[in-house]
């Protein structure tokens, strides 16, 4: 596998650090005038999402990671794995563990197109679309006429996720939701 030296480090570069695939966030050059040069590097661990900081002597190198980010369509869950299909017409599929899907799972339904990070062709993280539409399966009855004033109530979506919605929402309504904040946007 290819290696990258510190002078090739750029934000977005995918590398292997302590066995885990990471994306470089920041690379800072540190050097006392007459002393050894260092690169202080921030990484995002693509499996855990955690940010790691490591310091290298300038000139050191680390192994590249075979990481790709693709749009893939969510097909189904077989009870253990969640299956995705490439949208490039190849019909190639990949199976993701629940762990890789943890953040996207509350929001996605079959046929939604997600951003999938593949490491050595295995999905390690899945990002839901910024906006999804989901049906309300359970909520208190809607209050007629209350379409503008404030006030919210809990509503359960078809994925099982509970969010706060305006009082006028009814069971069976289809809602647009911002998955980054987890908030109701509008009726779809």
């Amino acid at each position: 596998m290819a290696r990258y030296a510190t002078n090739e480090f750029r934000a977005g570069l995918k590398v292997l650090l302590e066995g885990d695939p990471c994306s470089i966030l920041e690379n800072e050059f540190v050097k006392p005038g007459k002393g050894q040069a260092f690169n202080r590097v921030k990484f995002r661990n693509l499996k855990s999402g955690r940010v790691w900081e490591r310091t290298f002597k300038s000139g050191e190198s680390i192994e590249a990671a075979d990481v790709m980010e693709l749009s893939m369509e969510y097909l189904y869950c077989d009870g253990q794995f969640h299956h995705f299909m490439k949208t490039d017409g190849s019909y190639e599929q990949a199976a993701a563990s629940a762990a890789a899907l943890a953040e996207a799972l509350p929001w996605i339904k079959e046929q939604d197109v997600c951003q999938v990070t593949l490491w050595n062709d295995d999905p390690i993280s899945v990002t839901a679309p910024n906006f999804v539409t989901l049906e309300v399966t359970e909520t208190d009855p809607g209050l007629k006429g209350d379409t503008a004033a404030g006030g919210t109530k809990p509503a359960t979506l078809s994925t099982g996720t509970v969010i706060r919605v305006p009082l006028f929402i009814n069971i069976g309504d289809v809602l647009k939701i911002d998955t980054r904040s987890g908030e109701y946007v509008s009726r779809a």
């Binding site: 002078n7 050059f29 540190v30 007459k34 002393g35 050894q36 002597k57 300038s58």
Partner: protein, 262 residues
């Protein structure tokens, strides 16, 4: 600011000089790489060698304000080409020169107190792996708050071109000025012993070889000038771009240097 700097030296009868930025040789410093032209000439990493040859030839106190070059240095506090202010004062030692540096800085940044710390108190030790020391020192500096601090008493193996002081536990008569966590100036009570300089150059080149890098040819003309006699003097270099950064309250060179690398 350049005009203010020139006025400061005019008042003190320090003469401005302009030495070549392109030379046949360059520094042997193990951690400084010189850029080399296709014709084999080196862009100077500081005007030190030329200025010392002038002093050895009988010039009075001198300063230079101009570009210098260091290969591969790029970051928020580094550019491969930067502007250096370097000056030499005949008859000064490092203490007298630190006072003059403070006077210059006070004029540009406004007056403030200057702390003093030894290298050992910052890095924790003066012994051990040089790279680990460099990192400990760099991190200690970065953690400084808004203070002006002279760091003194550098380890012997970081003397560069400073003379040594103290018999039992010798230290280099070298200082740095750190302002708000930025390494701004580096000065010496200058080494005048040509034989000692030759020994340090040989040691530098051994370190280069050990690290798998090209050794650098010695600057024989500097060695000859020092053998003839470099008068007792102290010298210091200031990163002018970093100084501009501090004056303007910026946090990276790219904010203040026109046409910066990034």
């Amino acid at each position: 600011m350049l005009a203010q700097i020139r006025a400061f030296f005019a008042e003190r009868d320090v003469i401005e000089v302009q030495t070549p930025t392109l030379g046949r040789t360059s520094v042997t410093e193990p951690q400084i790489e010189s850029l080399c032209t296709s014709a084999g000439a080196f862009l100077q990493t500081s005007p030190e060698h030329y200025m010392k040859r002038m002093l050895a030839a009988g010039s009075p106190s001198i300063y230079q304000l101009g570009p210098v070059y260091r290969a591969g240095e790029s970051g928020h506090l580094h550019q491969e080409e930067f502007t250096m202010l370097e000056w030499y004062r005949l008859g000064f030692d490092d203490q007298a020169l630190m006072a003059e540096v403070a006077a210059l800085i006070d004029g540009l940044l406004g007056p403030a107190p200057y702390e003093r710390m030894t290298y050992e108190s910052l890095a924790g030790t003066v012994l051990g792996d040089p790279a680990e020391l460099d990192l400990a020192y760099a991190e200690a500096i970065e953690s400084f708050g808004p203070v002006r601090c002279f760091v003194t008493d550098f380890p012997v193996n970081q003397a560069a071109l400073a003379r040594l002081r103290g018999d039992r536990e010798p230290r280099a008569a070298r200082f740095e000025l750190i302002i708000d966590g930025v390494e701004l100036a580096n000065g010496y009570h200058e080494l005048t012993d040509a034989a000692e300089l030759a020994a340090r150059m040989a040691r530098d080149n051994q370190q280069r070889l050990d690290a798998g890098r090209e050794p650098m040819a010695r600057d024989e003309r500097l060695l000859a000038a020092m053998a003839e006699g470099l008068p007792d003097c102290a010298g210091v270099a200031i990163g002018v771009d970093r100084l501009v950064m501090l004056v303007l309250g910026a946090s990276s060179l790219a904010e203040v240097v026109p046409f910066a690398d990034r």
